[in-house]
Amino acid sequence: MLIVDDHQPFRTVARELLESAGYIVAGEAADAEQALAAVAADCPDAVLLDVQLPDRDGFTVATALAAADGPAVVLISSREADDYGRRVAACGARGFIPKSKLSAATFAALLE
């Protein structure tokens, strides 16, 4: 799977968290451009995608991936879903996890 977040320490912790739960993290990306390139190259099954990216927002990336019948997307943000209104439901992602609530269990629950 692929982790997309512009905050490097968070990527490191998230990778550790997911790997300890048995997921294979194929790569990391710091912005939308890198994320789309990594999806094309590695064909991951799932993407952990931060909403606030430096170049484009996560909703745009999720919509693009959903349109291309790409991997399952789980959105994460240090804000809550309520702060984004209807866009969370409209972008085609599997679900949304506030970053502070991220755990192997919450992630797995959305992918089922």
Binding site: P9, R79, D82, Y84, S100
Partner: protein
């Protein structure tokens, strides 16, 4: 910009004035009349020549009172001489006869130039300039050529005298003359339709006279071409009709002068509490509906009565007259340049209006300062909003990101540690999550992301969901509103709901967002105890500057046991 000389003193320029030509015109007229009598010319023809030339000379003197019409004055005098010069054909000297023949039609071209260049001596348009040049070519040019070919024993230039050649030259003059008369007629009618106010008042009679003369010229030319004969009676009729042109000029100037008493009525009217504005009253007194009043502020800028900045015009189509009080310019009148021809009228209005304009200027200055204060308040609020947005962003990208990473790391460590350490780590994670939640609430209060991304309705719905009591939201706001309006409306709802929670002891609340064509109304009601007015206002009072900057109104209605209603209305066009 046309500068203004309000006091016109003709005596100063007496030497350069055509006034000295008057006795010359009279003497020349008498001499020509004697020639005519001697030559047994018809009495009516002599009378018509004298009437027209003396009327032209008289008009040239009347026109002198208008400094801008100086060129017209000279043209009128020149026309009178040209007309009498043509009558040298009555002289027995062959040389004088030839001179008279050459000058025969020149007066018509001079009259055309006079009409088409009034008032300032500039042609009205390109077509008018071409028409004037054409008139000289046809009359003067045609006669010079004619002098070489006319089969007359008195001609001193008989180079190629031949009846048929002379006839061709005559026809070559008459046919273009018909076209020119038509052009002049249409130019005059067009001009009469365009002129307004004082210019129409002064030039209207002349334009009417010119139109009639052009039509008469068409009839006479048609007669000459049709009958192929030079009839002396037609020349007499042409001169008799042309008398209405100097008469029209004098009539226009007299008509303008007759308006002056209205200016003194202004004194009375200015003291009445009429509902009309100063501009309207001055426009009426000066007879210029296009008049504008620009008040001069201390810093040299000009504003209108409402305090809005005005750019003074540069160019010949508008004139600017200053109004001073105690040696200091307090306002300027921007008006039709034709008013410059009525300096006494402008001067009397200026003298009368000075005091009232001084008061109006002070009022305009205050309004201008108010506008400035409002604009500056708007800029301050906008700058504060930009700063709020920056702080929200920094909180989110900085502290919040690090705390979130810390929280996830603590959770991961807790899952790997032994039971005792896991307990400590879990409690630490709970604390961090509490800090994150508080930070998130703080960031939302500083600048709500959802408002920026999704607009007012979505943001207010989120506010309602987070409130600790049931809040219903009804909204017809679909499209985005200007940022400052959205933010202020959001803060009104947010503060009102905070008050409901803190003070109202309410069980439920309702938010209504109503978009009208030119406004947005925000209403928050609750079913609480009401009556806690001062306390209830405190949070909303902080929004005062923000609302004032948007010209918004805020009302709070709270009666005991009937709940509280907070209503804000924002002017906001679709």
């Amino acid at each position: 910009m046309t500068s203004t000389t309000v006091t016109a003193s003709p005596s100063r320029d007496m030497i350069r004035d055509p006034v000295l030509l008057l006795p010359l015109v009279v003497a020349a007229g008498l001499a020509v009349g004697w020639l005519g009598v001697d030559e047994q010319v018809a009495g009516t023809r002599i009378a018509a020549d004298l009437a027209l030339s003396w009327a032209l000379a008289a008009a040239s003197l009347v026109v002198l009172e208008r400094p801008r019409w100086r060129r017209a004055s000279w043209l009128l005098a020149a026309t009178a001489f040209a007309l009498l010069g043509a009558d040298l054909e009555w002289a027995s000297s062959h040389a004088l006869w030839t001179l008279g023949f050459v000058l025969e039609g020149l007066w018509v071209a001079l009259l055309a130039q006079l009409v088409l260049t009034l008032p300032e001596g500039r042609s009205w348009s390109r077509v008018a300039r071409i028409a004037v040049v054409g008139a000289y070519a046809v009359t003067f040019g045609g006669q010079v050529v004619g002098a070489f070919v006319v089969p007359d024993a008195r001609d001193v230039l008989p180079l190629a005298s031949h009846p048929s050649v002379a006839h061709t030259v005559d026809r070559a003059q008459e046919l273009p003359a018909v076209g020119l008369a038509l052009v002049v007629f249409f130019l005059v009618v067009q001009r009469a339709g365009v002129l307004r106010g004082p210019a129409r008042r002064a030039q209207g009679p002349l334009l009417l006279a010119a139109a009639i003369t052009a039509l008469a010229a068409l009839v006479l030319l048609g007669w000459v071409i049709a009958t192929d004969a030079r009839v002396s009676t037609l020349e007499t009729i042409a001169r008799a009709v042309a008398v209405i042109i100097p008469a029209g000029i004098v009539a226009g100037i007299t008509r303008s002068r007759l308006r002056r008493p209205e200016a003194s009525e202004l004194v009375v009217e200015l003291r009445t509490e009429a509902a009309t504005t100063m501009r309207e009253r001055l426009a009426r007194a000066l007879g210029d509906p296009s008049l504008e009043v620009a008040y001069r502020l201390g810093d040299g800028r000009y504003v209108d009565a409402a305090g809005r900045p005005i750019e003074l015009p540069h160019g010949a189509d508008r004139a600017v007259t200053g109004v001073t009080s105690g040696g200091e310019e307090i306002a300027v009148l921007v008006h039709d340049p034709a008013l410059l021809d009525e300096p006494a009228l402008v001067e009397s209005v200026r003298a009368t209006a000075g005091l009232v304009l001084e008061n109006e200027r002070l009022a305009a200055e205050v309004r201008s300062q108010l506008t400035e204060v409002r604009a500056s308040r708007g800029r301050i609020v906008a700058a504060a909003d930009a700063e709020r947005r920056r702080i929200e962003r920094n909180l989110h990208d900085g502290a919040q990101q690090r705390l979130v990473t810390l929280s996830v790391a603590l959770g991961l460590d807790a899952s790997r540690a032994d039971e005792a350490a896991a307990d400590v780590l879990s409690r630490a994670q709970d604390e961090v999550e509490q800090a994150i939640a508080e930070l998130r609430d703080l960031a939302r209060g500083i600048h709500p992301t959802l408002l920026r991304d999704e607009g007012l309705t979505a943001a207010v719905e989120a506010l309602a969901r987070r409130a600790p009591l049931p809040v219903t939201v009804q909204s017809n706001v679909r499209d985005r509103l200007p940022d400052p309006v959205e933010l202020a409306a959001y803060f009104v709802v947010s503060e009102a709901l905070t008050n409901v929670v803190k003070h109202a002891s309410a069980t439920e609340a309702a938010v209504l967002l109503e978009r009208e064509p030119a406004s947005l109304r925000v209403t928050v009601t609750d079913d609480g105890v009401g009556g806690a007015r001062i306390k209830a206002e405190s949070g909303l009072a902080g929004l005062h500057d923000r609302l004032e900057a948007l010209d918004a109104t805020l009302s709070i209605k709270c009666e005991a046991r009937q709940g509280t209603t907070v209503c804000a209305e924002f002017p906001c066009a679709s």
